[in-house]
Symmetry: C2
Subunit: 245 residues, 2 copies
């Protein structure tokens, strides 16, 4: 039961009761593997399920006319996807496997049951959904009002922060299995320009990048450059209703 990565994740925010753990573990069934590059669902699809990422990276993306792509968010182990797809029937973005991933699917109706029987979990889902909004808002600030280098710094720091929140470690070296094109599509720049910026940032001894390994060489200066605020450490659960038996 506690080998559920979703349980592990939620336990980070809240001390789950056995009954709550059960309810969650129940959601998380049918693990299924997708290969890197495959599409879990497509923008506009009629989606009736939610996904929990077990292992690997997935990403939400959306396409624009000229074949352009905007990456909206990355999803790691323990993340709940479908987020976007829950308010409306049609998916607002596509979900693509960035590496080989293992995900569990569950139908939305199961979520309805959970809301009914475990109000505290409902509150937690609500709070997690708000974290997503905040993450998007932070990204929006970066895209709207800063130049390339700061955007990249921001992206790197926010990925690092999220991965650290999951792993509990604090390593300056992080694995980012993304190409320069991916990075560009995430921060709204060209692959070519991303390349140049990474070179500059390397020369300035801010980072080091080698294949999929990124090292945050001078994190304080990166934070300064990006005006980064790490918000992913904890959730405020003080307003949550009490757990039900």
């Amino acid at each position: 039961m506690s080998d559920s990565c979703f349980v592990v994740r939620l336990n980070r925010y809240l001390d789950l009761t056995p009954s709550e753990m059960n309810a969650i573990a129940h959601l998380e069934r049918e693990p299924r593997e997708y290969h890197s590059g495959s599409t879990l669902w497509q923008e506009g699809d009629d989606v009736s399920e939610l996904l929990i990422v077990h292992h690997g990276w997935a990403l939400s993306e959306t396409r624009l006319p000229a074949g352009k792509r905007q990456i909206l968010r990355f999803h790691f182990s323990g993340d709940l996807i479908g987020a976007s797809g829950i308010a409306f029937r049609d998916a607002a973005s596509s979900i693509v496997a960035a590496t080989d991933v293992v995900v569990c699917r569950f139908p939305r109706s199961a979520l309805g049951d959970t809301f009914n029987t475990h109000p505290r979990l409902a509150a937690l889902f609500f709070a997690m959904s708000q974290m997503e909004s905040i993450d998007l808002a932070d990204r929006l600030r970066a895209l709207g009002r800063s130049e390339g280098k700061a955007r990249l710094a921001n992206l790197f720091l926010s990925i690092a922060a999220r991965m650290r929140a999951v792993s509990g470690e604090n390593n300056p070296v992080i694995r980012i299995p993304l190409t320069q094109s991916d990075l560009g599509d995430a921060v709204g720049l060209t692959q070519v320009h991303v390349n140049r910026l990474i070179r500059q940032m390397t020369e300035e001894k801010l980072i080091t990048r080698n294949r999929s390994t990124l090292t945050l060489v001078d994190e304080p200066r990166l934070i300064e450059l990006a005006r980064f605020v790490d918000r992913f450490s904890a959730i405020d659960s003080s307003w949550f209703p009490a757990a039900k038996a």
Copy 2:
């Protein structure tokens, strides 16, 4: 009871039971007025309340080093704010009155009670929060991957869509009480450039702007230009738990 604008708003998505209406109307007390330009709360404040907009426009904004500003979202009548502030104690953005506004405040704990007693409302709040994420994601796509004119078109259309969803009308004329600087801060452009783009768009007979009145002259072409998708019409409530007495 039904003069609560929040009830009116939620009723648009769901047929509320009397008990649910009561619970909501209960949240919405102590209406309070703020003058245009005043700050309801500030980035970083310790916020323990949520707001419901009764009347007027508010906006969430965040500041960057060089005094730059990014407007994240506009809030109209019936909107729930605090959104961003609910997962964490510290507000992630400031809330400012764009016009004179009337808002109701309620403590987060009241939300906890609602989650406990009215799971269907919890589901609705969750879905509304997802709408917010989707709105942000759409904005992100616009900022990351389109040029100025398309960004503006996108902003105009999305404001129009949201206002229409509230009013039920379908008027090509909308009131946007924002300056060119505000528009710029929302789409990540300079006030000067916004001015030029608006002139161009007027010449191209896409829009007409006069003070705070904006007319969508050629909406089909605007939609085409912005690749706009209107998602604000309805919520998919099929997965919601049943209403409780």
